[in-house]
């Protein structure tokens, strides 16, 4: 439940970042959330796939190892069966070809045994056992004539079943061998037995032909779980085998288990079809895991590389994304501020125009009344305080004159200007304006540095308005610098649509707070004598001409004003 809430919050904060705090932390949080989400959707499937592959490769690798083991095991089992079948056939052949009488003849039997050994090999001895269980005839290296087998179980089984193949045993001879017994019949008795013993080192040859690697082992066990051949690791012939074949005595089965030494092994059990033997083949897991580890380390390498790549890409992309978002936000905010600013200016302008107009009429009356007063005083004969009266009316009129300047400038700021467009060179306009101000800057030894572009394209604009703009900006620059200061005026071809003019001074500069307000009417730093209208009017004119007015300033370092003017007239001025 808590988990669900957590990712709901995550999604909400990604989709609606405003819901979180509005500070700069917002972008950090947004970035973090995007990174986490992208990590989840990329790394998680990758990890899942790697894990699935891990197990799939492992099982298919195991199958690749186990299947040849099965094939080899059953092939070898088959060889064993063929071998035993052949030996059995040899003995049966003798019983079919020779009569009991012939076999009972020692000389005859010796000859047969010689041929048998020579032609087929592996036979140790050959003996004929009479119906009473006494060996009546024997060919072989031991003195076993007249030995009594009547109590031995294999003898009885041979009598009952007709044939018998024994487990491996030491018997009288003290080395491992197996016995094959076949029943014979004659007129006197129907259970003579011809018995041959076979050296089991031939079994070892069969196992050696499997060509197992040093770690692996193969051996035969009987159904009692005794070794029938020597095992490399687990014991000698006739010792008890530590492994027990799985139940079900047919075909081949595979098991994963631990051997007595504690090694992880894979064992393949192949049951013989007719005899109670099982061929066991053992391979340690480590052989399989060796190739598995190689593959695993390669997979891990690829996984790590791709994870790192994903990390890097996500971080980089998210960084770019966040930066763009942030820039877009800032641009939007700036546009809002500018809009707000221009709306503020225009409403202040309308208010100012209204006030100025209303004040103008009473001002005109004051002007005329004072004028009349002055006229009358001038025309009257001498009287007390005549000069004083003249002075008073004069100062009323000069105050009215000051008010008139203000109201007219206010109206000028607000009114819709009729712009007279003509093709002009901005450099010429600037030089003309500097002409007006020459007296001031020469007197104060201010260094005017002109860097006017020679090939500046002519633009379509209003000379009078531009004069006012430049006059205002340059006057401000002159006012800002100390005597002997520097004012640089530069013009350049800015881009396809606009030319740029900058006026840079090394004067007192402005604070951030001042910069915010400089284009507002009545905002002035010239305490006492500024109207605070100069830059507001300038701003209005530049906007009206379709241009831009910008300011850069650092308190104590100086100020730069930029004017960007359109080369071509706007098809229609706003408003």
């Amino acid at each position: 439940m808590a988990n669900a809430n957590w990712y709901q919050n995550l999604f909400r904060s990604i989709l609606n970042p405003d819901a979180e705090n509005q500070s700069a932390d917002r972008y950090r949080a947004l970035r973090r959330n995007i990174v986490i989400l992208m990590m989840l959707v990329t790394i998680l499937p990758l990890t899942l796939m790697a894990i699935i592959n891990h197990y799939q490769y492992r099982s298919s690798l195991k199958a690749e190892i186990v299947n040849p083991m099965r094939a080899l095991s059953s092939k070898t089992k088959h060889s064993f069966e063929l071998f035993l079948e052949e030996k059995l056939s040899n003995v049966r052949f003798i019983t079919s070809v020779y009569s009991v009488k012939e076999l009972a003849d020692e000389k005859n039997l010796a000859r047969i045994f010689r041929i048998l050994k020579k032609e087929f090999g592996g036979f140790v001895d050959l003996g004929l056992i009479a119906c009473n269980g006494i060996q009546t005839s024997y060919a072989g290296p031991y003195d076993l004539l007249a030995k009594d087998y009547s109590e031995q179980s294999w003898y009885h089984e041979a009598k009952v079943k007709g044939i018998h193949i024994s487990d491996v045993f030491m018997g009288y001879r003290k080395f491992p061998h197996i016995a094959i017994a076949v029943q014979l019949v004659d007129e006197a008795c129907d259970h003579w037995v011809l018995r041959a013993t076979i050296d089991t080192h031939l079994f070892d040859n069969l196992i050696a032909s499997m060509q197992l690697d040093a770690e692996s082992d193969a051996f035969l066990i009987n159904d009692k779980g005794d070794f029938q051949t020597n095992s490399k690791f687990y014991g000698k012939v006739l010792e008890t085998c530590p492994f027990s074949p799985p139940p079900g005595n047919y075909g081949t089965s595979v098991a994963e288990e631990k051997d007595p030494q504690g090694r992880e092994i894979i064992s393949v059990y192949s049951h013989f079809n007719t005899l109670g033997y099982t061929l066991v083949m053992i391979k340690p897991q480590s052989v399989i895991l060796k190739s598995w580890f190689t593959l695993k380390s390669e997979m891990f390498f690829i996984f790590t590389i791709s994870t790192v790549a994903i990390f890097l890409v996500i971080f980089k992309l998210t960084g770019i994304l966040i930066r763009n978002t942030r820039e877009a936000d800032e641009r939007r905010e700036l546009a809002f501020r500018e809009l707000e600013h221009s709306q503020k200016l225009s409403s202040i302008g309308r208010l100012a125009a209204g006030v100025a107009h209303e004040i103008n009429n009473p001002l005109a009356i004051i002007n005329e009344k004072a004028g009349l007063m002055k006229d009358l005083v001038e025309r009257a004969g001498p009287f007390d305080h005549k000069e004083k009266f003249l002075g008073l009316t004069g100062s009323i009129q000069s105050s009215v004159e000051r008010c008139k300047t203000i109201t007219h400038r206010l109206l000028g700021f607000a009114r819709r200007m009729e712009v007279q467009f003509e093709v002009l060179n901005v450099n010429d306009v600037l030089k003309e304006v500097l002409g007006f101000l020459e007296k001031e800057y020469l007197y104060r030894s201010i260094d005017i540095r002109l860097q006017l572009a020679d090939n500046l394209p002519h633009i379509s604009s209003d000379v009078g308005q531009l004069q006012q703009v430049f006059l205002n900006i340059v006057s401000n620059a002159l006012a800002a610098v100390e005597d002997n200061g520097t004012v640089s005026i530069t013009t350049w071809d800015r881009n396809a649509e606009t030319v740029g003019i900058s006026v840079q001074d090394n004067g007192c500069g402005m604070s951030e707070e001042t910069q915010k307000h400089i284009f507002e009417p009545f905002f002035t730093t010239k305490k006492g004598y500024g109207t605070g209208l100069g830059l507001a009017i300038t701003y209005g004119i530049v906007k009206k001409l379709g241009g831009e007015l910008k300011v850069e300033s650092q308190a104590g370092r100086g100020t730069t004003f930029y004017v960007f003017l359109l080369k071509e007239t706007l098809s229609k001025t706003s408003e």
């Binding site: 001002l363 004051i366 009349l372 009729e418």
Partner: protein, 122 residues
């Protein structure tokens, strides 16, 4: 001795128009006044002035309306406009309609007299 110039002042601000009239009389002009377009037309019927000084901002017809009337009846009488709006627009529009020149309020008496002398016939 030059003949006294007969000037008609038209403005809805009575204080303004009477004070200005008095000042111009002191300077040797023959002044009549009117406070709206109708009064102006009546006055002109009674005695034709040499020149009309007309405020643009007036109730009723407005200064420019009165100007049109004057120009349609007495095309030869020069008219000087006074504007309180600080805008050249009214002045230029007035001159297009046949006004001789325009001045912005508050006016300087010497400037007005100069313009009157320029405009006066003869």
């Amino acid at each position: 001795m030059m003949k006294k110039l007969n000037v008609l002042l038209v403005d809805d601000e009575v204080e303004f128009v009477q004070t200005l009239a008095e000042r111009l009389q002191l300077r040797g002009f023959d002044i009549h006044t009117a406070s709206d377009g109708e009064g102006a037309m009546n006055q002109m019927e009674k005695s034709l002035p040499d020149l009309v000084v007309l405020d643009v901002m007036m109730p009723g017809l407005g200064g420019l309306g009165v100007l049109k009337q004057i120009k349609s009846h007495y095309a030869k009488i020069p008219v000087i406009l006074l504007t309180g709006r600080g805008s050249t627009a009214d002045g230029i529009e007035g001159m297009r309609l046949g006004a001789f020149d325009y001045l912005m309020k508050p006016i300087d008496i010497d400037e007005l007299i100069k313009k009157i002398r320029d405009a006066a016939p003869g």
